[in-house]
């Protein structure tokens, strides 16, 4: 199939949104676009597996290439491997859910949906681009919509949060840019093309400079300690769909970049800096978890827990084993779905109770069984309950990390394991305080989820459970991709 469809559909949807006359039309058009995208994602998954089953072992499938700025050797080069397919599926799920939960956004509906779709387009483009230039292009496209989403439709100290987010992400992409330029000039014939660059082994000294730049740059997106501080503010002041997209999709851009660009292209650099990555990610995991314990605001709780959970992504990458990298990608997908669902639920609760303070809630299960149940499911998923996606991902990371016999990595792994207790503590604190216990007065008249909210939640839950019950399909999708990276790592200097 032609991958440009994945970019075209959002583009067309966005254009259509601008043409619509009233809010209702806007909603339905965006929903239509999002569902089309979801269908497309599944078609892609199907065709991809078909190709693989047919024995097509090329690293990238469905490659398409258009010349673009030939004088710089920039070409619009698209292609997917298992990892990208997984990420695309994730995006499609989150997008449609996000469109659904923001059904009753009344303020500047058109602009809101326009930006949402634009943001999703950036994500799709990022995941399928095999040319570092367009990869960067899409990476940055996604920033400004976030800024506006938070700044216009956000709550709390939104301007501050929006600024912080935009500037920190831009800072990240600035580092990425420099790293990319470094790679660009590393070869004889200058090129941004991922596959070409992968073919030529980038000189060591350039790897030493560019790997940290790229990793830190992408790390900003995926909340690499200590560059994570945009996460709590950004997530908590964003509108519901905004938070879902931020945590569900854009944080994954970073992880994907770390894996696909930094680690894949510069294995030596990765080996060199692996320990630092591991240390930072373990810090992020534990410290994020402990910081979460102290939060009072549901959104802050989820934001900080995202820091902790994305730590697993970086840990998986830093461990540099096939299993751990597979786990990292799984964790990206799982965390994407999970956190999107979590934010969706928080949004639903907030719309009804008009508070996000854990202390001001209680007994919601009585008045809104559906939302309460979803809250339980997502909470259990986030603390890694088997049968839900979180467990699979984290266990895979652990298994992969443990494959190193050296004590340092062992200890890192054990520390990471300990975090699941802390996670249990804060998650249970949050959900028991809100959903259980006696019903707070004033909440007697709360209503349960509406159809669109239910649909959104169910879609995401479906994803979570599909991974939790039958992880093998995701594993089979991702593992070969990780395998390729491992082969690149295996090549001696």
């Amino acid at each position: 199939m032609n991958l440009s469809l994945l970019i075209l559909i959002p583009l067309l949807t966005a254009a259509a949104v601008l043409l619509m006359r009233n809010a209702a039309q806007v909603r339905w058009v965006s929903l239509l676009g999002a569902s089309a995208q979801l269908v497309l994602a599944f078609v892609l998954l199907f065709l991809f597996n078909q190709q693989r089953a047919a024995g097509n072992t090329a690293q990238m499938l469905f490659e398409t290439q258009y010349n673009w700025f030939p004088s710089w050797n920039i070409s619009f080069h698209l292609g997917v491997d298992g990892i990208s397919v997984a990420m695309i599926l994730l995006t499609a799920f989150v997008v449609i859910a996000g469109v659904l939960v923001s059904w009753n956004v009344t303020k500047m509906t058109k602009e809101f949906y326009f930006l949402l779709i634009l943001l999703s387009m950036g994500a799709y483009g990022f995941f399928i681009s095999l040319d570092l230039f367009i990869l960067f292009f899409f990476l940055e496209i996604a920033v400004i919509p976030k800024y506006l989403l938070i700044g216009i439709w956000g709550s709390g100290k939104k301007e501050y949060a929006a600024n912080k987010l935009a500037l920190m992400l831009m800072g990240g992409s600035a580092l990425v840019l420099v790293g990319l330029l470094g790679i660009y000039f590393s070869g004889k014939e200058h090129s941004f093309d991922l596959m070409k660059l992968a073919a030529l082994n980038i000189p060591l000294q350039i790897q030493m400079i560019c790997f940290p730049l790229l990793f830190a740059g992408f790390g900003v997106f995926t909340a690499l300690f200590p560059l994570h501080t945009w996460v709590p503010d950004g997530h908590s002041s964003a509108p519901t769909a905004g938070s879902m997209f931020l945590a569900g999709i854009s944080m994954k851009l970073g992880g994907y970049g770390c894996l696909r660009v930094a680690t894949f292209l510069m294995p030596e650099g990765a080996k060199e800096y692996a320990n630092i990555i591991i240390i930072l990610s373990v810090i992020a995991i534990l410290y994020g978890a402990f910081a979460t314990m102290m939060q009072k605001d549901l959104k802050y709780i989820n934001a900080y827990s995202s820091v902790s959970h994305c730590g697993f992504v970086l840990l998986g990458i830093g461990m540099l084993t096939k299993t751990s990298m597979t786990g990292a990608v799984m964790q990206m997908v799982s965390h994407g779905l999970m956190t999107a669902l979590f934010f969706a639920v928080i949004g639903m609760i907030y719309e009804r109770t008009h508070t996000r303070q854990v202390s001001e809630m209680g007994g919601l299960l009585k008045r809104m069984p559906f939302i309460g149940t979803v809250l339980f499911i997502v909470g259990l998923c986030s603390l890694g309950l088997p049968g839900l996606s979180g467990f699979v991902a984290e266990m895979t990371v652990f298994m992969g990390s443990w494959q190193h016999p050296d004590t340092f990595r062992r200890i890192a792994t054990i520390l990471a394991c300990l975090s699941i207790v802390v996670t249990a503590v804060y998650i249970l604190r949050a959900i028991t305080k809100t959903a259980m216990g006696p019903l707070k007065e004033g909440f007697e008249l709360l209503t349960d989820a509406t159809w669109n909210e239910k649909l959104a939640a169910l879609i995401l839950i479906a994803g979570i459970i599909a991974i939790g019950i039958a992880p093998f399909w995701l594993n089979d999708l991702i593992a070969p991709g990780a395998e390729v990276i491992m082969q690149k790592l295996a090549i001696p200097k």
Partner: protein, 651 residues
């Protein structure tokens, strides 16, 4: 070879029940859900019994040894070519026995709950949760893969969490379920790391392969595991010890037992099912599952298991003597009995006569399931009647609850180890095993058995004799009088279990279950069993002397050994210690600082850069003075400066 499909159905039917009732229950099966659940479980029970029959009497035994059969197994998550999580079914004596126990007790509870939970607004949810639990527990016992067992382990934990927190609007229940989950979770981390270690060295997650690798010294896996050592202890021992930590957490072994008494916040049938008969023995089951590795490759780990078990048994028994909430008493007695099973494993060796402890432990697990479930259900009937858990609200109930009274008495006799009731036989074997291998543990066990008899009958007398019945006290109609003992659905399970509690002892257990699968003939030594029985009777009589009639002897005695009594009454302050560690240390010394650090230092740095830039821009605005002449000066200065720079330095 057994037919996998119907064995698979045993756990899957409850799962079906869970899904059906969980999703549609509230809408469609408001009242029928109980029956549906019970019916489904009845089927699985029958299947389980059929399986047991088939295994033990038809295909299980190959030239005198019970085989470990794996009729079903498919790869769930592949890590590397031979390391993978498989979903499978393993059929061996232990798992079959557990299948029977779990399904049977669970069925009893399902039926009992029909009456007990009648009219509860979340009736379907309750049965859904029961279904979920049963499914997870059954999945756990048939796991053929150590990671599979971990998966169901967690599921069991969460269903117990859900059931403890079933009355979710009761703050104490919420606190209890949270506590239960977190404590067991903490233990599970140990389990997880243990799995990682064992899997790394044995290079597999499959039980059979893992056990064979780690028990045969010539394999690479064994060598590496024995060679690699951390803090002077071999990796293998670490692995097993950590796995046992997981087991200890679930089985409420000291010092991870604190969640069990609070778990009694759940509905009483649930306590009977989960926190007495089935889930809490998962730890014992786990150790039994890995028993060859423990026994052959790492005796130290096994010894640890023994002592932990013994200590837990004793402490629990002491505490049980002082509690006044009847369910808590039962909870502690459960802990104590599980302690028995644990140290029975701990003192056992692998194979032949030496393996007596293993058989005994399993035997006790079996019998205990019967009478402890019975006790809880009986207590449930009492509570159902009185609407209180407190002994002081009870007394003289024998008139009002005859069936409960008799069955309860049988159970008490069984647990007290009075012949010919079930408890007697299993306990005998345990004590025998302990006596043969570890005297210290033997004495502890002996004392404990005396205490057991005492506190059980303290309970019994306090409920059914002692004070004038509430009727007299209330001087009129007792609340709950009108619905009597709760009718057939609640009595039938009691009776069935009572039969079990009375008769289970006569099963020649050694013939079926032994450490190495070979038949083990346990002969009965009269002279040996005198001491424990005597102690037991003594305990009973003391209890009778103290509690049969209302009097002030208990208070006197309590006063006389006040400090011990107080300590025991406060459960030796273990809860307080935990609270201190979590609240004061972890929250205050780690959580808050982390949050503060993030807010002020990390975030502060980021903001500082921003504000710093602003300040600089503010401070240099004088450059743009608006004086055209100063502009010119800067101009010329720039020219000359650059000129000098490049003429003199840069070249």
């Amino acid at each position: 070879m057994p037919n996998a499909t119907y064995i698979a159905l045993i756990p899957l039917l409850p799962l079906a029940g869970f899904l059906m009732l969980g999703i549609f229950g509230r809408k469609y099966f408001k009242n029928t859900s109980g029956v549906i659940g019970a019916a489904l479980l009845l089927i699985s029970t029958v299947l389980a019994l059929y399986t047991a029959y088939g295994y033990f009497f038809e295909y299980g035994k190959v030239d005198g040894v019970y085989q470990k059969l794996v009729p079903l197994k498919y790869t769930w998550l592949q890590f590397s070519e031979n390391v993978s999580i498989d979903m499978g079914i393993i059929i061996d004596p232990v798992s079959v026995m557990m299948l029977v126990v779990v399904t049977f007790v669970s069925l009893m509870v399902h039926i009992y709950s029909l009456g007990y939970m009648k009219g509860d607004e979340r009736f379907p949810t309750y049965y859904a949760f029961l279904g979920l639990f049963t499914f997870s527990m059954l999945g756990l016992v048939v796991s053929s893969n150590i990671f599979q067992i971990y998966i169901f382990w967690e599921l069991v934990g969460v269903s117990s969490f859900l059931l403890i927190g079933y009355y979710y609007d009761k703050p104490s229940a919420v606190a209890a379920c949270k506590k239960a989950f977190i404590v067991t979770r903490f233990a599970d981390v140990g389990f997880l790391i243990g799995i990682l270690i064992l899997a790394f060295h044995s290079g597999t997650l499959d039980f059979n392969t893992l056990i064979t690798t780690l028990t045969s010294p010539e394999t690479e896996g064994y060598k590496s595991a024995a060679a690699a050592s951390f803090m002077g202890v071999s990796a293998l021992t670490w692995g097993l010890a950590l796995v046992f930590v997981g087991g200890a957490g679930k089985s409420a072994m000291f010092p991870l037992h604190i969640w069990l008494p609070d778990a009694m916040e759940g509905p009483t049938p649930v306590s009977a099912l989960i926190h007495a008969a089935t889930m809490v023995v998962a730890g014992v089951f786990l150790v039994a599952r890995l028993f060859p590795v423990f026994a052959i490759s790492s005796p130290n780990a096994l010894t640890m298991v023994g002592y932990v078990g013994a200590i837990s048994a004793l402490i629990a028994a002491i505490i049980a003597c002082t509690q006044t909430d009847i369910k808590r008493v039962l909870a502690y007695s459960t802990m104590s009995q599980i302690g028995y099973m644990m140290f029975a494993l701990g003192v056992s060796k692998y194979g032949g006569e030496e393996g007596l402890g293993y058989t005994a432990s399993m035997f006790h697990l079996f019998t205990h399931a019967m009478f402890k479930a019975l006790l809880f259900l009986g207590a449930g009937a009492v509570i159902h009647y009185i609407h209180s858990n407190e002994m002081k609200d009870m007394g003289g109930l024998r008139k009002y609850l005859p069936v409960t009274h008799i069955t309860f008495l049988i159970a008490c006799l069984a647990i007290a180890g009075v012949p010919p009731f079930a408890g007697f036989f299993s306990k005998e074997e345990i004590l025998l095993a302990a006596y043969e291998h570890n005297t210290a543990i033997y004495w502890i066990a002996l004392i404990t058995s005396g205490l057991t008899a005492f506190y059980m009958f303290r309970l019994y007398f306090n409920i059914f004799w002692n004070a004038p019945s509430p009727l007299e006290r209330a001087g009129g109609e007792v609340h709950g009088e009108h619905h009597g003992e709760g009718g057939f659905v609640m009595m039938m399970p009691l009776v069935l279990l009572a039969v079990g509690a009375a008769g289970a002892g006569f099963i020649p257990f050694g013939h079926f279950i032994s450490s190495d699968g070979k038949q083990l003939n346990t002969e009965f030594h009269l002279q040996f069993s005198i001491a424990p029985v005597a102690l037991g009777l003594a305990g009973i009589f003391i209890a009778m002397w103290m509690y049969k009639k209302q009097n002030n002897r208990p208070d006197k005695i309590a006063a006389s050994l006040s400090s011990l009594y107080k300590a025991a009454y406060h459960k030796f302050y273990i809860d307080e210690i935990y609270t201190f560690i979590t609240q004061k240390i972890i929250f205050n010394l780690i959580g808050r600082p982390a949050a503060w650090f993030d807010k002020n230092v990390v975030d502060g740095m980021i903001n500082a850069t921003g504000n710093g830039t602003k300040d600089i821009s503010e401070s240099i605005k004088g450059l743009q003075s608006g004086k055209v002449q100063s502009y010119a000066i800067y101009f010329l200065a720039g020219v000359i400066g650059l000129a000098l720079l490049f003429i003199y330095w840069w070249t």
